[in-house]
Symmetry: C2
Subunit: 322 residues, 2 copies
């Protein structure tokens, strides 16, 4: 994906993060080590570490001190993925087998707990209770979001508020916290920490809406998972919500989205109804609005060259076309 290049200014540090992810899982319990290393090798965009590092660089040229924090935030993200895999029965994530498929439910649960606990232990090394408090509070909110997500499946009566709350907990919160913690380890002033945190929040919202669009329109090779995965799992996203109100087939669509069987068997037909309804355009508009809101936060920060990359990342959303 093109926005990888946007992280070039912290590429050296991201490489160190990658190595440290492995060494952070330094257990001598074989199965735990294997499951965790497998998960790390499965890769990912390392969005959260990148935001920690970039936000840290805004307030301090030397971002060595931000590297453990970047590792910790990727570990939190990974821990939620392992637990999500148990839950969703997903057989494949990012093209490789999931921990669940390889090792079973119990190992997935304990690996997730282990990785999460490790991330806290890393943050504890900073000897700053403010950082750990943010991690703890964020985790509480993420857990609440997972439950909301779970009870929203196949529920065609949920509205946009529920959707926004779900993607906030699923994505925006952790990107916001990545920016916040990156700024905090560089001892940024409170007002600026708040600005970059809000930037992360709005950008995270924009990212997730974009992802939800791509799930419906992108090719399987680009996604690394089958097109329409959300629909198959009963996850009702913004384009679908729009279509349930505005599609000329809205009755048929509602019925289909409420039925696990139809979501699985008639996925292509459901996607057609959504894309025919301008649902994609609407979601595109919403993602752009969030990207603009993110950029507005940047205006409140000092005018330094390190700020440009944050504009560029938001522009990547603004310039997209579907």
């Amino acid at each position: 994906m093109p926005y990888f290049n946007l992280f070039d200014s912290v590429a050296t540090e991201l490489n160190i993060v990658e190595q440290n992810l492995i060494t952070s899982i330094d257990t001598n319990i074989d199965i735990l080590h294997e499951a965790s290393v497998h998960l790390i090798h499965a890769g990912g965009k390392r969005l959260r570490p990148a935001f920690v590092l970039l936000a840290s660089r805004l307030f301090n040229q030397d971002i060595t001190n931000a590297i453990p924090m970047a590792v910790a935030l990727e570990l939190v993200h990974m821990a939620t993925l392992v637990h999500d895999d148990v839950i969703d029965n997903s057989m494949a994530r990012r093209g490789t087998i999931t921990v669940k498929k390889g090792w079973g439910n119990k190992v997935s649960i304990y690996s997730g707990n282990y990785i999460f606990a490790k991330s806290l232990a890393i943050v504890a090394q900073y000897n700053r209770s403010d950082l750990l408090e943010i991690m703890a509070d964020t985790s509480v909110k993420i857990c609440e979001g997972e439950i909301i997500q779970m009870f929203s499946s196949y529920n065609v009566d949920i509205g946009i508020k529920n959707y926004l709350r779900r993607i906030e907990r699923k994505t925006a919160l952790l990107i916001a916290v990545s920016c916040q913690l990156g700024a905090l380890v560089s001892n940024a002033p409170a007002g600026h920490v708040n600005n970059i945190e809000k930037y992360g929040y709005f950008l995270g919202m924009a990212f997730q809406v974009t992802d939800d669009i791509l799930d419906l329109v992108a090719d399987e090779e680009i996604l690394g998972k089958p097109t329409g995965s959300d629909i198959r799992q009963g996850v009702i996203t913004l384009p679908a919500l729009y279509a349930m109100y505005h599609s000329k087939h809205r009755e048929e669509l509602r019925e289909a989205l409420a039925s696990p069987e139809q979501c699985n068997l008639n996925t292509a037909r459901i996607i057609d109804m959504i894309t025919d309804s301008d649902g994609i355009d609407y979601a595109h508009y919403v993602s752009q609005r969030y990207a603009v809101k993110a950029q507005n936060q940047l205006k409140k920060l000092p005018d330094i060259p390190e700020k440009q990359v944050f504009y560029d990342i938001a522009n990547y959303i603004l310039d997209r076309d579907y």
Copy 2:
């Protein structure tokens, strides 16, 4: 159980802990609230809160400050219980897993995560990174222990070292940390924190060995679960380990303990072989040795009346008979 009375000196505070356990789960997500409250009402001996409070009282008469910590430690314990209850779906693989069953697991995983995150958020309120660091490090070790436990089931080749490591992670660690954190919130001197932590460790080991004996010899009504539950679940405890070396039926016993089917069907016969082998006496001796080690740590603490209850708790182990 008689040792409930040993907690009389902190009964008032334990009542507040009980109320705060409920209010600490202050989510507006219904299912999360219900699952958590259900768990709290299921009760338990509240051993960990009691040790937090008693250890705190050793160094400060006013233990109000220790109450949130006591709540947090019970929440950690509860979170591990919820995750232990999640069962492997492998047996349902042939058919499709029912939605109900899937949701049962989901709720368990997210409730456990939520309760754990909540406990961290409570500890974060102390604004002391040393306390949170201990919580994080302990959680890492508990996760490792859960994996060890899992891979030790029905494994008749494991030795005493594996057993001790398992019960350390399962019980001793959290009792030790309860004592440690209780002392720390009362700002005890480092040396004394260390003594009471070690007391908790040795006492926790003694408790778990005692529990493992009771699982084989106590009546169902006293245990609150069927006699021989460990054997049925393939958990090989100290009396069984001893018997596998010293029973005259050691070959038969080894074979039985390695077989999930026999563990389930021939539980009574397996218990007989273990009890006939002096395995109970041996475990009894080990538990007493740990209780003495615990008491030895107390000698290093100042000679104050609040110390007596810690002797009494260890004496409760020393005076047992089977």
